[in-house]
């Protein structure tokens, strides 16, 4: 039986795409497993990991501060005008803190870091691939997975929760600025409400999310760069540029899907 052009063609194409995606996800999973194992390959990994913490964490700190403040301020405004209708504007602190800690902190941090560091991981590793640098590492008997990928995964696992915590705290302060300073909610009530409503489970849940997102972003970005030469939609610099785009798009999609899955699991 042939599946030539006919009514089945779109279905066949969908099936092929699904199989490709599943295959790709399996490959990424193995890639991740290899990367995680190699984090502990040798003590020589530590300086490489610290260097990546600089690239992924320190260099993202400023943008996270900025985005965090503004997210908190917007939450403060929106929350105020919603709550004031019910006369419950005293709950603003709780609303801001819970949205940040449970949801927006981990997710927005992951998305910002994807834009800043995920794209550059994909581009940097991709360029190394097309200029034979990865092959050069290989023939020097330096495992490119251990040299390039493992430190990035480890550094993401360190940086994401820290950046998320910064985002949460700064966001809470941003909500304070609009809620208390501009809209005149009582300062004590704002913080009292935060403290009385936030549970340890919310905070650990937020950190679990950020660890999961760290793994997703680092794996997807490194994988896209590492296999730039296998792409079918472009070779050379075009391949690198497509890898970078896929890294950002796939990371964001996977982060949001994983967020939904984990949230429904945590609640």
């Amino acid at each position: 039986m042939s599946t030539g052009p006919g009514i089945l063609a779109p279905v066949t194409a969908l099936g092929a795409a699904t199989l490709r995606l599943l295959g790709e996800m399996g490959a990424m999973f193995l890639f991740l497993a290899d990367g995680l194992r190699l984090i502990f390959a040798s003590p020589k990994q530590i300086p490489k990991i610290l260097n990546q913490v600089f690239v992924i964490g320190s260099k993202s700190l400023f943008v996270i501060l900025l985005i965090g403040v503004f997210t908190g301020m917007v939450l403060g405004l929106q929350g105020y005008y919603t709550l004031v209708k019910f006369g419950s504007e005293g709950l603003l602190g709780a609303a801001v803190a819970l949205s940040l800690i449970r949801e927006l902190g981990p997710v927005l941090t992951a998305i910002m870091v994807t834009g800043r560091a995920g794209s550059s991981m994909a581009a940097e590793i991709g360029v190394m691939r097309i200029t034979d640098q990865i092959d050069a590492l290989d023939v020097m008997d330096i495992n490119p997975m251990a040299y390039l990928v493992a430190p990035r995964i480890a550094a993401s696992l360190i940086s994401f929760p820290l950046l998320t915590a910064v985002f949460d705290v700064v966001g809470i302060l941003g909500g304070y600025v609009t809620g208390v300073t501009l809209l005149g909610i009582n300062e004590g009530v704002y913080f009292y409400r935060i403290q009385s409503s936030v549970e340890m489970a919310d905070i650990t849940g937020g950190f679990m999310k950020s660890l999961l997102f760290a793994v997703i972003v680092a794996t997807v970005s490194c994988y896209q760069g590492y296999f730039t030469h296998m792409r079918r939609d472009g070779v050379g610099p075009e391949g690198v540029s497509n890898s970078t785009t896929s890294a950002v798009v796939l990371s964001c999609v996977f982060v949001l899907v994983a967020d939904y899955a984990l949230t429904s699991f945590l609640l």
């Binding site: 190394m128 034979d132 092959d135 050069a136 590492l137 023939v139 020097m140 008997d141």
Partner: protein
Amino acid sequence: MRANSGWDIRLDGLAVGYGDHVVLRDVNALLPAGEISMIIGGSGCGKSTLLRHVLGLQRPMAGTLSVGGRDLFALAGRDFRKVRRRMGVLFQDGALLGSLTLGDNVALPLREHTGLPKATVRQIVLHKLALVGLADYADYYPNQLSGGMRKRAGLARAIVMDPPILLCDEPTSGLDPVNAARMDQLLLDMRANFPGMTIVVVSHDLRSLDAIANYVLMLHDGTAAFAGPVDALRASDDPYVRSFLDRRADEDQRTGVSLAPEVQQALDAWLER
């Protein structure tokens, strides 16, 4: 130890390519230890591809490739890596790590594979960089150098672990005559200082062929057109060998300089605007 260690490279009925695309087939050759073998052939004939197979980066489509008497692709894990650690490689574009300085690039294999103290590493690195005339550039990044300088730095990295097998992809292309001669001299010195070292050089440079090669593997038309000592190459009367050595264009591959008249007219019309 190193003398007569027998790190020769033997290709038996080797076929290489990408996917379904066969680049070379049925290549038979012996690149002997202790000699400089040169792989020559036109641009795009598959020299770099062949080299990637010798490095074990790609699997051949058919045939065997043995290094030091052991079938490279029958080895696995540690044994494979053990053989490959014996190879120093200069890639066509140097393949230096862009995020490291030249000094760090050259030091990388030492740092990863040895526990030598920092000062010793530094000394070795500066010595190897001086060999290729780049002693003053240890703190430069690869993209701050010219293509020729990157190539020389790549060679310094290739020889930093004193490998018994040295593979160079076009070491002299892009170099001025003085530095090209210096590179050739360096390879001759390597052969003299490390007896038994297998040196394989990919090149189009006829002057290098004259200056350094003992053995030649000439690729043409998807296979080995010639494999053997350089004297035999010179005596050969194969038409392609002759046209290559005499630097003549193949008669049947010449294209007229002029475009077809109507195409030329169309182009002219645009150029005159």
